[in-house]
């Protein structure tokens, strides 16, 4: 019986790795967040931020040192089996049975999740079609490329109807086509009411996919909410794309004068990120007097810009 309207509730979660003769590592440090049911939720952060540790706690692979975590109301420490009955997981490691064919990988996964043989065969056809695995269905895991192995691993989770899916860096190693297929499949599953929790380094992917995100750094939460609210989180970053007939030193000097958070020059185009609308408009007015501005575009900063800005700010504060 599902006990909660929230898919995931994490309160003051702490995970410390204590190793003999070594300083304990506080991988997760007082994390609190919640995920609504049916959402696509992105857990973002740089390497070593504590994302995978958080996922491991939520999927019952690790027990927390302090605090609590509940999946559909079930506590991960006291009710781990009930939690496991609600989830399916793409772990960060490439997890595929190397000596078994793709079909048998699906069969084993389906069996573990309680599907009948007939149901497994039916769903295998659907999933292998969806992930374009038909031509590989009888190949052994050992003979597949890295990207294909990952595809099989992701495809397995769509074989079963668990209410919550965890995808830890699921698209790592996939080519553009497979990434697109995976993203589409994630969207479709979410529309069916499944909650998807994903971690990724590819922030563009998170931006287009996620309903809400949490950004972590050094085990702590530094931003949490809808993608739009995180992007607007007091930073009001704007991206300007300025195209000139030529980029001169005086143009760059003017841009730097307006304290941009980032500058990138590509041939005759300069991409700039600034805080506040007024800074953007002032900068635009200033550069017009120092060069021939052919084209400009002002957009809200991407999640990646905000992400970098948030991490810089935290690093500065530290």
């Amino acid at each position: 019986m599902i006990k909660s309207d929230k898919a995931i509730e994490v309160e003051n979660l702490v995970k410390v790795y204590a190793k003999r003769n070594r300083q304990p590592i506080r991988a997760v440090d007082g994390l609190t967040f919640a995920v609504q049911r049916g959402q696509i939720f992105g857990l973002l952060g740089p390497n070593g931020a504590g994302k995978t540790t958080t996922i491991k706690v939520l999927t019952t692979l690790l027990t927390p040192t302090a605090g609590s975590a509940r999946v559909l109301g079930y506590d991960v420490t006291s009710k781990p089996l009930d939690v496991r009955k609600q989830i399916c997981v793409v772990v960060q490691e490439n997890a595929i049975e190397l000596h078994l064919s793709v079909r048998n990988n699906f069969r084993v996964f389906g069996r573990f999740h309680g599907l009948s043989s007939g149901e497994i065969e039916k769903r295998t056809d659907r999933v292998s079609e969806l992930f374009d695995l038909r031509s590989h269905i009888n190949e052994k895991g050992l003979d597949l490329s890295g990207g294909l192995k990952r595809r099989v691993q992701v495809a397995k989770t769509f074989l079963v109807d668990k209410p919550i899916v965890f995808l830890d860096e699921a698209t790592t190693g996939m080519d553009t086509f497979n990434k697109r297929t995976t993203v589409q499949a994630i969207r479709e599953e979410s529309r069916k009411g499944r909650t998807i929790v994903l971690t990724t380094h590819i922030l563009d992917e998170a931006e287009v996919l996620c309903d809400s995100v949490a950004i972590m750094n050094h085990g702590r939460l530094i931003a949490h909410g809808s993608v739009e609210s995180v992007k607007a989180a007091g930073l009001r970053l704007l991206s300007l794309s300025l195209s000139f007939d030529q980029v001169t030193d005086s143009i760059l000097e003017q841009i730097r004068f307006h304290n941009p958070t980032s500058i990138e020059v590509r041939n005759t185009t300069v991409d700039v990120t600034v805080r506040e609308e007024t800074a953007a408009l002032d900068l635009l007015a200033a550069v017009r007097h120092h060069g021939h501005l052919l084209h400009f575009e002002i957009t809200a900063a991407s999640l990646e810009d905000v992400f970098v800005q948030l991490l810089d700010k935290k690093a500065g504060a530290a």
Binding site: L61, T63, L81, C88, A95, L100, V108, F112, H113
Partner: protein
Amino acid sequence: MRAISAVVYREYLIRITSLTWIFFDLAVPLLYLLMFGVAFDKALGQGILIGGRSVSYNAFFLAGVLSMTSFGNALNQSYGFFIDRDNGILYEFLTYPMTRGEFLLGKILFQCGMTVFQSVLTIGFGAILLGITVPWHLLFFVFVAMMVGTAGWFFLLATVAFLIRRNDTFTTVINVTYFVLMFLSSVFYPLDRVPTWLRAISVVNPLTWHADVLRYLTVGIGSFESVLIESASFILFSLFSFWLAVRTLQNTI
């Protein structure tokens, strides 16, 4: 039960991918008996005197081969955790809807089936080729003892495999330990004429308990009372090992 049968199904699918593997798994104990046993039997000539009875070395050694088979199967199965961990699949398994105990029981249940097949072959060919007389009415208990032995050692070795992260370290530690355990037990020779210190260690060695129980069941050597105590001791050892393996699996991944 569904989870256990799923683990058994997975083990079965993996095992049937290599017929060579199956052949050697099944044939090794028999080869051990035919080569090692026969050589010693000839070397000793008149067999060995134990508990006032003279038995051929082949007959004596049959229980030793069976107990080594249990240990070897347990070792092979526990080594699989390193492969599963390297493949990453172990972490995925642990997120499946099953308890850690069900996972371990499923892992060993398939291997117990293999153990029974090996026992049938070894005892059958031992009787046909070497003339070893086995009390056939006790055969069922031999199989039970073999399965309990395999499971007990597997749970202990699985615990070690979870704690030791490197497979080469695991192999070294287990090989050395196994070597010592084998020669400090009744696997190869009767213990009534060995030095007192060796006998003292042997009586607390689970390999001795297992070999003695199997020897009683295959060639009738030993007293019922002492075999009963050794059986109970081995069952307790297996239950403790199971508890330890589950606990370690919960805490070390």
